[in-house]
Amino acid sequence: MNAPVLKVRDLKKSYGAIQAVGGVSFEVMPGEIFGVIGPNGSGKTTMFNSVLGQIRPDAGRIELNGEDITELSPVELNRRGVGRTFQTLQVFGKMSVRDNLIVAAQEHQGSLWSRMFAPGDSGLSAKADALIDQFRIRHVADKKAGELSYGQQKLVDIAMAFMSEPDLVLLDEPCAGVNPSLVGGISTLLKELNKTRASGKKPGSFVVIEHNMDFVMDLCHRIMVMVEGTVMAIGTPAEIRANKQVLDAYLGN
């Protein structure tokens, strides 16, 4: 159980003359919630998108459960057990909440041809309903996702990332634009999901980018601080809070 789920080695990505990510390395262990913080423009999202196959890194190696996934597409990564959310809302607005959740895992059921005339719910209704209850969105389950409030859509968005029971979930600013009371709710949900996932056979590991310091410090087991495309520090929340360099560069005071 001590082999890392995600291993990133010396990741580099430049846009023209600007080096967005310059040699980032870190590991995420099974069951770990790994936070990534840093000022705007520090390369967090570029690092994220490289890991997720959205952009191709210039150099470096990314491993998932020991397998090299550096050149894989987002589809292939998802099939191997990587879930994600985006910085902005990305639900399917014209589908119901329940269908949003079902479509989020249906490609993991059977083959393309076996799905052709298969039942529309792909046998995933029970699983979708369980997540709907866990996320407390039962009252809007049959509404179109596009008609919900921002906070409700954010919950649907996060729930979708967990439908296919991924080994690793990357969450890009899950609290952006969310009111303070829901921030607490999201934190509780992620802790719950981390626990239930970790107690199962598969390791439930998360990587979370977030600007809300209280949220990150409370939720994450370890935190990586990125500054100017490089890693300034990696440590437990207590270590990060006590790190003088981090305080000067980012946390302030």
Binding site: N78, G83, R84, Q90, M95, A104, A105, R115, G120, S164
Partner: protein, 327 residues
Amino acid sequence: MKKSLLFGLAGLALLIAVPPFLKSYGIYLFSTWLVYVIANMGLNLTVGYAGQKSLGHAAFFGIGAYTVAILMQHGVSFWIGLPTAMLGCFVIGLVLGFPALRVQTIYLAFATLGFNTAVWLVLRNEEWLTGGTFGINNIGRPELLGLSLESPLAYYYFVLGIAVVLSALMWKLLHSPWGKAFTALRDNPIRAESLGIHIQTYTLLSFAIGAVYAGIAGALFASLVQFIEPAPFAVGTSFMMYLMVVVGGPGYFFGPLLGTAVGVLLPEWLRFAQAWYLFVFGAAVVLLMLWLPDGLLSIPDRIKARRQARDASAARAANAAKLGVQA
């Protein structure tokens, strides 16, 4: 779903009961309408559900019609011609899907438009194969289990039967995981990818399946009119087909039924306006697009949304009153 089924069955009952009372031109019009409904059902999949802006649908309509006509000219049965047309359209549809993997929206529309023009030029210029501008005439009608389909009414019922079967298949497909994948591809391809939906595969399939429907429609069209030439398969028809899908309501299952009625039957009913009929038709389309950009079938959704909004504001007002706030 139950409501849709009832609506479908009621419509079907009318389509079975009414035509025997029509003159042969009326039967011909209804047959033409059904042929275009089949083609537009396919286009609705490509454009309405999968969100791929295709302006080349008439090319597949033409490929289907010419495949059957040329084969029948050489003594091959309609029943061999039809699957050949379907297979041909599927393969060429897959190929036409490839530009959609690189470009979208208006750029894709132009790419498919170019394809339509190229196909039309082949139909017009390759006289040895297609008869060029003279076209192909004396196209026969098939027999079905020994029954002749020569009479307009018999052929109408034949086309209706095929339309019902193809509708049922489309319904099943759209309510399967594939239907959800197509919608996901239309609404948000990047999110779809991150959920393991292979968007390239579904893009190509949406073109190929849409093309098969157009191919079947083309084959039926050839036997219906019994004389084909390149004109009905030019880009103008692709525009009309796109218009019919949009007017009916893209992404609504019954959209093509209504939209095609507007595109095929309405101009006929407007003949009383004589020289003005195209003007009236054009004005009607402009008004429809202004008021109902999501098509005719968005009307029930709009009414529902309005009722929900009214209920919600009533509930808010009641709540406010309960809290002692003056409205």
